[in-house]
Amino acid sequence: MSDDLRSAVAAGVLGAETNYRELLQSIVAVARAIFRAKASSIFLLDEESDELVFEAVAGEGSESLVGRRFPSSTGIAGFVLVSRQPLVIEDVLEDPRFSRETAESTGFVPKGLMAVPLLHEELALGVLEVLDRPSEARFTLEEMDLLGLFAGQAAIALDLLQRARRAQATLDDRGELAVLARVAQKLEQRRDEAGAALALLSALERVLE
C-alpha cells in the first residue's frame, strides 16, 4: 500500500467502525419499531472462530448481549445462516427445545421470532432477528418482504463494518505507520486549524522524496 493510500485509508477508517456500529444499532432499532417487537438483534459471523456474535441489540437484552458468542450452525440463527433461508416462527404451540435455548442466550423467552440471513454478494455475513411481534397480528408475506429489505440494508452495514475493521487491523499491524492514522484523525477533527500542520507535512513529504 502506498503512503498516500495508507494516509487516505487512515483518515477514512478512523471513526468509521463507530459510525457503522451506530448504523447497525439504528437498523435494529427501526426494525423493532416497525414490527412493534420486543427486541431485534444483528449477529455477525466470525469466520475465524466459526461463531455468531451479537453485534447490535435493540430492546430486551440490549445492555448485556453485545459481544456474546455462540456456535454458528446450531439453533435458529445457525440454520438461517447455513441454509440462507429466512424463517419465521409465529407461535410456540408446545414447549419445544428452541425456546429454552433462546432463553439461555438472551435472558428472556420469546413466543415468536423472525430470522433472516444477511447476504452480501456471495457471502453470508450474519443474521438479523426480530423477537416477539404482537401476538394478535398474523404474519403476512408483505412483512416477509419488509424483513428482506431490512436484511439488505443490514448486510451492507455489516459489510462496511467488516471492511473498516480489516482496514484498521492492517494499519495496526504496521505500528510505525499508526502515527499517520492518528495525525490524519486529528487533522480531520481540527480542519480549521490544520493549515500550518499540513504545510509542515508537505515539507516533510518533500524531504522524504
Binding site: 450452525s73 441454509s83 414447549d95 404474519f139 439488505g152
Partner: protein
C-alpha cells in the same frame, strides 16, 4: 429391461415401439387421476436438512438417519446418526411430508451442525450422497450463495433429474443468486398465504415455478413440540409430499412428467382455485 438402451440422440422407427409408455396419459388430467386414493406408499422421500427427530409423533417412522461431515478432504457419512435434529427445521419438513403422504418412507440426511465454515461443501456432498441412493424425492429447503459450488450443484441436479430423483428446493425471496433452486432440473417452490395444504400454483414467470402453502403453517419441532411457522422452506415439503402421492400412484413418472403433472393439476391451471 434387458434390451440395449436406445441411443441418447436418435430414435429409429423400430425404437418407437420400445418407448411406449406403460400407462396412457388421460385426455383430461385431474387431481383424482393424479393422486386420488394415494398414500405415498412405496415412495422414498429424503429430507436433506438439519436432521429429523425420529420420535416425534407428527413425523412417525424414519427409515434412515444419516449425517454428512467433512474432515480435511475426507467426506464422512455416518449412516446411523443419533444426533436427531440440531435446529427443528428438518423435523418440521418431515412432519409436513408425513401429513400429506402418510405412508411414504422418510429418510433424513443431516447436512447441518458441522459449523458454518465448510457448510457449502457439506451441502454438496449431502446432495451427492442422496442422489446416489436413488431416493424418489429429495426435499431441500437449503441453498448456497457460493459461486464455486454452482456448477457442481448443477451437475448433481441434472444427474438426479435423469436418474428419476425429483429434487424439490426452496426458492429464495431475497435479491441474491443462490443454488440449486434456480436450476430448471429441480422444482423450485415459493410461498402463498392460503391455508389449504393442497392448494398450489404454477408460476408462468420463473425462476420460481410453484407456490405452495408457506404462511402460518403448523409444524412439528424438536422436543416433541409444535410451532406455527412461515417461510418458503415450509412450502417446499408441501410440493414434496404431493409429488410423493403422485409417484406412489404412478411409479413410472419421470421428473419431467411429474413436473408436467404438477402443472396440469395446479390450482390456477386444472386443479381448481
Amino acid at each position: 429391461m434387458t434390451e440395449e438402451p436406445l441411443p441418447a440422440w436418435s430414435l429409429s422407427t423400430e425404437g418407437i415401439e420400445r418407448i411406449a409408455l406403460p400407462e396412457a396419459w388421460p385426455g383430461e388430467v385431474t387431481r383424482e387421476w393424479a393422486w386420488g386414493g394415494a398414500t405415498g406408499a412405496g415412495v422414498r422421500v429424503c429430507i436433506l436438512d438439519s436432521g429429523v427427530e425420529t420420535t416425534h409423533p407428527l413425523v412417525g417412522e424414519v427409515q434412515q438417519s444419516v449425517a454428512i461431515s467433512i474432515e480435511g478432504d475426507e467426506v464422512g457419512v455416518e449412516e446411523h446418526d443419533t444426533a436427531g435434529d440440531l435446529c427443528g427445521h428438518g423435523t418440521a419438513c418431515a412432519g409436513i411430508v408425513r401429513a400429506l403422504a402418510p405412508e411414504s418412507e422418510l429418510a433424513s440426511v443431516r447436512v447441518l451442525g458441522a459449523g458454518f465454515t465448510g457448510s457449502g461443501q457439506v451441502l454438496l456432498e449431502g446432495l451427492r450422497w442422496a442422489v446416489e441412493q436413488g431416493y424418489d424425492v429429495i426435499n431441500m429447503s437449503l441453498s448456497t450463495t457460493k459461486q464455486k459450488f454452482a456448477s457442481l450443484l448443477h451437475q448433481l441436479a441434472d444427474s438426479a433429474y435423469f436418474r428419476r430423483t425429483m429434487l424439490v428446493a426452496s426458492a429464495h425471496n431475497m435479491p441474491v443468486e443462490s443454488y440449486p433452486w434456480r436450476f430448471s432440473s429441480v422444482i423450485s417452490v415459493g410461498s402463498h398465504d392460503r391455508p389449504d395444504p393442497f392448494s398450489y400454483f404454477y408460476n408462468p414467470t420463473p425462476p420460481v415455478e410453484f407456490f405452495a402453502r408457506g404462511v402460518d403453517v403448523e409444524v412439528a419441532w424438536t422436543g416433541g413440540g409444535r410451532l406455527v411457522c412461515t417461510g418458503n422452506s415450509f412450502a417446499t415439503p408441501h410440493i414434496a409430499g404431493i409429488a410423493a402421492l403422485m409417484l406412489s400412484k404412478h411409479r413410472e413418472l419421470t421428473p419431467f412428467q411429474l413436473k408436467s403433472l404438477l402443472y396440469l393439476t395446479a390450482s390456477n391451471v386444472g386443479g381448481g382455485a
